[in-house]
Amino acid sequence: MALTIASREIDGVTVLDLSGRITLGEGSVQLRDAIRDLISKGQKNILLNLGEVNYIDSSGLGELVSAYTTSKNLGATLKLLRLTKKVHDLLQLTKLYTVFDIFDDEASAIASFK
């Protein structure tokens, strides 16, 4: 299943609800464009909800890292919400778990931006 991205605003935080796969050719470019679009519009607080992302490959992991560094370099903050077991395991395996701020609870994630 290709990646779908829905956007919503809560207390100054843009939540991107991602659903599907983030892989080479299936979502990586969409995610990159969505992040760049948000930052170009001046959004500073971005929360990626990965609760419906059932698959991510090395390209998708690289895209998450790029989203993180791009956000940071441009003065924005990007955090992750609700990892599926597969994505969680891959972030641990690659030690990317140490890079991101990761939350299971949306309210806590939103509050962390204040």
């Binding site: 050719g25 090395s58 992991l61 690289g62 890292v65 993180y68 560094t69 690659t94 890079v99």
Partner: protein
């Protein structure tokens, strides 16, 4: 890249049919996908005139995928460790690391030209029986 999806789906189906559990099936399908992406993009430089070959074998003890490209080859022993602190924020370079992490054995053979990559998952005794 359609061939990558086909190979990945085939690996997943074969692993499921062999009785491997969900995690093992995921690991095999992902490793095979990463190896095939590497063969198409980095091995064959996305050249449609070059082929990749994928061979599957279930010996009863091992689940084996062999993926061969027609590219220039590379030295797998001198790749940067993507999990090292200085490399964590790199956007690329995690494919071979994931393959090695997800499979029980990974062997590279340089063919001049081309690279043959063999991925092995050891089967639990019950999973290998038919």
């Amino acid at each position: 890249m359609e061939s990558v999806g086909e190979v990945e789906a085939t690996a997943e189906r074969l692993a499921t049919e062999a009785g491997l559990d969900e995690d093992q099936t995921f690991h095999i399908a992902m490793a095979v996908r990463e190896a095939t992406v590497n063969a198409v993009l980095h091995g064959n430089d996305y050249d449609p005139a070059r082929q990749i070959d994928v061979i599957f074998e279930n010996t009863g003890e091992d689940f084996i995928f062999t993926i061969t490209d027609e590219g220039r080859g590379f030295d797998p022993d001198h790749l940067p460790d993507p999990s090292a602190p200085e490399n964590l924020l790199r956007g690329t370079g995690r494919g071979i690391f994931l393959i090695r992490s997800l499979m029980d054995e990974v062997h590279f053979r340089q063919l001049h030209p081309g690279t043959e990559l063999t991925l092995i998952k050891h089967l639990a005794p019950a999973a290998g029986k038919t």
